[in-house]
């Protein structure tokens, strides 16, 4: 379900969720803080109001004027009992009600007199014992009947700072005013959060949309490329972020694809063109035979000979096309250890037969072995030799040799024949490329136009590379760089 949503929706939901979480945490923290502050404030206000009253009743003039028997001007429980009513009454106001507890926890005075004054809450032994043992700031909140009441306990000491506690005053104040403020506060916070969330989400959606709009543009471009318009590119304003990088990478990929497609098209067109000539000859010869030439044995022999040649040419073309197609799959290269010296020696005899009167020399290099497909290696050397033979006269020289190269072996085939024109040189490995002929080699030899293409493909299938140097009327050198592995 989540994965089915568009990236924009997902990002917006994530963004809004994160925003809501942050705002909620912030709001709740703020709310609790405010609440604590308000309660503390109320508590200290009540304490501040209560302190002079308590001091007045316990240690003030009252004590001296109503001095009891004995000389000690110190209040005791009896005195406390006496004054507790007035003390509680004085401590009670519209918001606060006071009760006085003796050391047994018994209520000895209740300050509530008027109707509008809040009712006191019953004392909690846990808290008042703590106050009784001398703890000054015992404050707690009691929740009853959906109402929160703030309860403060003040120990009554026989003298200021004395450990002797006579009793405890319990002041209780409903938290309604604080809660009203908090409610307003909370409402403001909630509404604020909601508005911020809505605005934030809208803004986020806008930002994400604009960030993703280029992706949508790329999707549209992809679709139009899929429909066959390979010249399409993603046009984005110059930007170096991920989207910009994606667009650049995408454009490079399409460029590469377009180049390889058009190379493929050119190849197919050239291949079809190469097929046309033998087909024309075959078709024409057959028609001429059927139109009557079949009745003349000499003509039949002549035309059949030509047709046979064309069929051979077609077969060779087919084979080479198949070889080329096979090379696209690297698994077809079956590498094994080849000791170069032995390999070339084996090859030498066949080379001599092929080269006829041409002088062929093998220049042995260092003894090395490499991993290669022996059949392909033989084919490579054979094709290069064939090529050299085609471009040399009968008394020219051909040389083959090898030397150590960078991280591999460099094998070269050299001739002192007609050479290749500089303008043809960059194209000779292209399929079916027919160069301008430097000079006629006497015998009119025409290859399929795939020989050198195949050589290059075989060398590259081995992870190697091929280079060619040539000078007109001086000769040509092919250099194959093959890696050891």
């Amino acid at each position: 379900m989540w994965k089915k949503l568009s990236l924009r929706t997902r990002l917006t939901i994530l963004y809004a969720g994160l925003l809501a979480l942050l705002l909620t945490i912030l709001g709740v923290t703020f709310f609790i803080d405010t609440r604590n502050l308000l309660i503390e404030n109320t508590a200290s206000h009540i304490r501040a109001t209560a302190k002079p009253i308590i001091e007045h009743w316990l240690y003030g003039e009252n004590l001296s004027s109503q001095a009891i028997e004995g000389t000690k001007k110190k209040p005791d429980s009896k005195y406390l009992k006496k004054i507790s009513r007035q003390l509680a009454r004085d401590l009670t106001s519209r918001n606060v009600v006071a009760i006085v507890l003796d050391k047994n926890g018994k209520v000895i005075a209740n300050g509530k007199v008027l109707e509008e004054e809040p009712a006191p809450v019953s004392p909690n032994p846990f808290y008042y014992r703590r106050a009784f043992s001398g703890e000054n700031e015992v404050t707690y909140i009691l929740s009853t009947d959906n109402k929160n009441v703030l309860v403060l306990l003040i120990p009554l000491r026989s003298a200021p700072g004395s450990d002797h506690v006579l009793g405890v005053v319990q002041l209780s104040s409903p938290l309604t005013p604080v809660e009203r403020i908090l409610y307003r506060h909370g409402l403001t916070l909630a509404v604020g959060t909601l508005i911020t969330l809505i605005l934030g989400t809208a803004l986020g959606l806008l930002l994400i949309s604009s960030a993703l709009s280029e992706l949508r543009h790329m999707i549209a471009t992809c679709q139009s490329i899929t429909e066959g318009r390979m010249d399409q590119r993603v046009h984005l304003p110059q930007r170096s972020d991920e989207v910009g990088q994606l667009a650049q990478a995408f454009n490079r990929m399409v460029e590469r694809l377009e180049a390889s497609f058009s190379a493929q098209r050119r190849f197919v067109a050239s291949a079809a063109h190469e097929l046309r000539t033998p087909l024309t000859a075959l078709r024409g010869s057959l028609e001429v035979l059927m139109r009557g030439a079949q009745d003349d044995p000499a003509t039949v022999a002549h035309l059949c000979h030509g047709m046979y040649r064309e069929v051979l040419r077609l077969s060779k073309l087919c084979e080479e096309l198949l070889d080329l197609a096979k090379l696209e799959i690297s698994e077809n290269v079956q590498k094994e250890k080849v000791v170069l010296k032995e390999f070339v020696n084996e090859f030498e005899e066949q080379a001599r037969v092929l080269s006829q009167e041409r002088e062929i020399s093998i220049l042995e290099g260092p003894s090395v072995s490499l991993k290669a497909d022996p059949n392909m290696l033989k084919q490579i050397l054979f094709d290069l030799l064939q090529n050299a033979i085609q471009h040399t006269g009968r008394n020219d020289r051909i040389a083959l040799g090898w030397k150590l190269g960078d991280n591999g072996v460099d094998i070269w085939v050299e001739d002192n024949g007609h050479g290749i024109l500089a303008e043809d040189l960059p194209h000779i490995f292209e399929p079916f490329y027919q160069g301008k002929k430097v000079s006629e080699c006497g015998e009119h030899h025409k290859g399929s136009g795939l020989g050198l293409t195949l050589v290059k493909a075989m060398v590259e299938a081995h992870g190697g590379s091929i280079e060619v140097r040539s000078e007109v009327n001086r000769g040509t050198t092919f250099l194959i760089k093959l890696p050891f592995e």
């Binding site: 063109h273 046309r276 000539t277 033998p278 087909l279 024309t280 000859a281 075959l282 078709r283 024409g284 010869s285 028609e287 001429v288 059927m290 139109r291 009557g292 030439a293 079949q294 009745d295 003509t299 002549h302 035309l303 030509g306 047709m307 040649r309 064309e310 002929k437 009119h444």
Partner: protein
Amino acid sequence: MTENGFDTSCGASSGARILVIEDEDTITEFLKTGLKYEGYQVTIAKDGVTGVDCAREMEPDLIILDIMLPDKDGFEVCRRIRRRDSDVPILMLTAKKEISDKVKGLDVGADDYLTKPFSFEELLARIRALLRRSGRAVDSTELRVVDIVLNTETREVYKGGKKVSLTPTEFSLLELFMRHPRRVFTRETLLNRIWGYDYAGDTNIVDVHISHLRDKIGDKPPCLIRTHYGVGYAFYPGEGK
């Protein structure tokens, strides 16, 4: 014109001279053989320079020019020939199917083009059309042998002034014989040329049609159309009477 259509105007007794400029041996060989067989005089030039020279020296009635030549391309050759001789019909052979090549060919002065691989029969038809258009070595549309008059345009045959009604096949047979007097045609050749290359029937059909044709033109011994036993048929106009 389809490959197997009944191309009835088979050959040229005119002996028009054709220059073929083409470097592929097998193609020049069959063109030479085939065109000679149709009664043309054929000269072959294997590259552009030789082609231009030949065109100047022999003044051919028609030039067949391949676009892909070893030394220069056919367009250039065509331009050079046109510079000297503005009239000679030039038929271009192209291997590319692209329109631009055809347009370019026609622009530099070629009169027609054929795309490889082409049908030889179509080539013959184009050659005849070009020769007719140029007014050189025209095939006559009216053939006369003894008292038989055959008009290739109206496709009518008169024998001694009286109209003879022939089927298309019979007409084609008669035209072929009249254009190639004394040539012996085997039944297979007649089948290929009249019925089409892919006709797979019995050769007896040739005998049936020849027999009908003889009846219609009132061919009595010594016959105009004679049977060469074990070989085929030939037409002997001189000894007809």
